[in-house]
């Protein structure tokens, strides 16, 4: 284990963190603002990737595919909001869970019917398809830097909108006391629709950005969903800053754990035992982290004020 490798793995961890933030951003926005458990966030992410695959097939240009996929993701998100979710904001969290579970089943199967069960491909756009030499023999794809950049942009953008703009103020007010805000003349219904649509678009955006390096397959949103929830719970629900820092923390812990757990255990166990125990512990690490955080800070690390 060398210092260079440690640095590389730390970078990998931070990059994974930004990726996780990109995926979780929409979820924390919807949850934090509307107190709505949107389990369908995972399938919105998946739809973004699939839509990009189709539009890329039609246009041959990643940029067009991205824009078209975002628009389509927004429209689908709005459609689902109007048809199903709008009626559930006042309902119990559990009713929301049941309804979004039904939506997940429907979309996962629908995607299989429309696009087939085999994994699909979305290539990295040519402009960004180069790579940097990181260490001897290891390249770092420029596309990953794009993902980091887009994650940071989204973080900055969200922070700016929520804290510095008027609509952001309305969103925060609506989250704290929807009835009062409505009484003050703001159309809370429309506000929530806007937020939900935006959250859906963010989820789709994450799906498109990530598709070139990952497998686009039915059910790809399910494992991501759990990760996203872990991130926002650790970070504190409803807080963009919490989601960002929580994501970085999860990315770092997970990556460093996977990289060095076996080596760590090799210090006091023999090699074959270390190879057994190391990966098992590494897979549980983010859950152990979440349990620890909740033990010490039951509302997450940086809960949004007023929660």
């Amino acid at each position: 284990m060398s210092t260079t490798l440690f640095i590389v793995q730390t970078l990998n961890g931070l990059q994974l963190g930004v990726l996780l933030f990109l995926i979780a951003a929409g979820l924390t926005l919807v949850f934090g603002v509307m107190d709505f458990i949107n389990l369908a966030h995972g399938v919105q992410y998946m739809l973004g990737a699939y839509l990009a695959v189709t539009f890329y097939g039609l246009t041959g240009n990643f940029g067009y595919a991205l824009v078209l996929a975002l628009i389509a993701a927004l429209l689908i998100g709005l459609l689902v909001e109007v048809l199903v979710f709008r009626h559930l904001y006042e309902r119990d969290h559990l009713d929301q869970v049941l309804a979004t579970f039904g939506v997940i089943l429907f979309v996962n199967e629908g995607v299989k019917i429309v696009w087939g069960a085999a994994p699909r491909n979305l290539p990295i756009p040519d402009f960004f398809s180069g790579s940097l030499r990181l260490i001897d023999g290891l390249n770092y794809p420029i596309w990953r830097l794009c993902i980091i950049a887009s994650g940071l942009l989204v973080a900055a953008g969200l922070w700016f909108v929520v804290t510095k703009t008027r609509i952001g103020m309305r969103i925060r007010a609506g989250a704290t006391n929807a009835a009062m805000v409505s009484a003050l003349g703001v159309d809370v219904r429309r506000l929530f629709t806007v937020v939900f649509g935006f959250g859906a678009m963010l989820a789709g955006f994450a799906g498109v950005m990530v598709a070139p390096i990952l497998s686009v397959e039915p059910g790809m949103g399910d494992s991501v969903l759990i990760l996203a929830f872990v991130v926002i719970v650790i970070g504190g629900i409803g807080s963009i800053r919490g989601a960002f820092l929580g994501a970085l923390l999860v990315g770092l812990v997970d990556t460093l754990g996977r990289s060095f757990a076996t080596d760590l255990f090799r210090l006091f166990l023999d090699t074959s035992a270390a190879r057994q125990v190391g990966p098992a512990v590494a897979s549980m690490l983010i859950y152990l982290l979440m349990a620890l955080v909740l033990l010490l800070k039951p509302a997450g690390l940086f809960p949004a004020k007023g929660r």
């Binding site: 009713d95 939506v103 349990a291 033990l295 039951p298």
Partner: protein, 322 residues
């Protein structure tokens, strides 16, 4: 909080519905005699009842206690692995295996519950998920007990040395008996002072605390009881399939249990039975029609939520909504 539509009607349903359900279930083996694949039908309903037991255990803490456990399948797995691991060491009698399963579940519930109870709402959901995942990954790493591939049992557990459970009918009635006992037990718990304190704590924990009740202790006790009951379901599940696998503990499985409870109508116990019945039978029926049955099943769930407040029990006007 919504009041029941009419308390007389609700009371009537509280007795007639579960009674009707249990009578139908008791007569099912007779009915199955006239259907193709008698053993298969009996096996199907035994499986429904096993998940009904698990759903009841979840309804106890979810419907009455307001605690949404997203890791409840871990108890299913604990019960199942108690059967598997003891069998791997030559122990197969229910008089030994069942207490082991209950003890394992109680310990796990105590340890994880003590930590989880410090949190509320979504945080509680996520931390129970975390513990469920930890149990799952531990099971997959147990190579000597099959790991991910699972563990095959040579035969079902014996009762005092007798292979009572080996026959499909014998097993069916054992499960039915367990279901009835669990249901009555939970009914008693809910109606008792313990149950009332639990429900009060769900409505207003601060008030209950000021009345002198240690809410944390009540909740933890309920969680342990719930875990133990779910482990019974796990014990039965392992026996039904003569197979133990970490798949019994996946987070998707925990999600399905929650869906069954909500679908049936939480806070009524027989709602949980109804929910698991409808969920599993519908799944079986639809998957026989088309490979893409989830495209129908998903919207059905959504429709139930949108139009049947309080789940299926809500349609009957019975059950409680919190």
């Amino acid at each position: 909080m919504t009041e029941p539509k009419s308390s007389a009607r609700a009371d009537r349903f509280a007795i007639t519905l579960p009674l009707a359900l249990f009578i139908v279930l008791a007569l099912m083996p007779l009915l199955a005699h006239y259907l193709p694949g008698e053993r298969y039908v009996i096996g199907l309903f035994a499986r429904v009842m096993i998940f009904a037991i698990a759903a009841i255990s979840l309804d106890l803490i979810l419907g009455y206690g307001g605690l949404v456990s997203f890791g409840h399948a871990a108890f299913l797995g604990l019960g199942a692995y108690a059967v598997g691991i003891t069998a791997a060491h030559g122990i197969t009698d229910v008089t030994v295996v069942l207490p082991v399963a209950l003890a394992a579940a109680a310990l796990f519930a105590l340890a994880t519950g003590a930590i989880a109870m410090r949190t509320r709402g979504v945080y509680f959901i996520m931390i129970t998920l975390a513990f469920g995942q930890m149990a799952y990954y531990t099971a997959t790493s147990l190579s000597q007990y099959g790991g991910d591939d699972g563990l095959r049992l040579a035969a079902r557990s014996t009762v005092l040395g007798l292979p009572v459970l080996a026959d499909s009918r014998g097993f069916y009635f054992a499960v039915l008996a367990a279901l009835v006992v669990v249901y009555l037990l939970c009914r008693m718990i809910v109606a008792s002072r313990f149950g009332r304190v639990l429900r009060a704590a769900r409505e207003n924990p601060v008030r209950t605390e000021t009345m002198g009740y240690n809410v944390h202790a009540f909740r933890l006790t309920a969680y342990v009881i719930s875990g133990c009951i779910c482990a019974i379901a796990g014990f039965l599940l392992a026996n039904q399939n003569s197979f133990v696998s970490p798949a019994y503990m996946s987070w998707q499985r925990s999600g399905e249990l929650i869906v069954m409870v909500i679908l049936g109508g939480m806070g009524s116990l027989h709602g949980a039975v109804l929910g698991s019945l409808v969920y599993l039978l519908l799944e079986e029926l639809l998957s026989g029609f088309t490979e893409h049955w989830k495209v129908i099943f998903g919207p059905l769930l959504v429709l139930v939520v949108l139009f049947a407040r309080g789940g299926l029990m809500g349609l009957f006007g019975g059950g409680r909504r919190g």
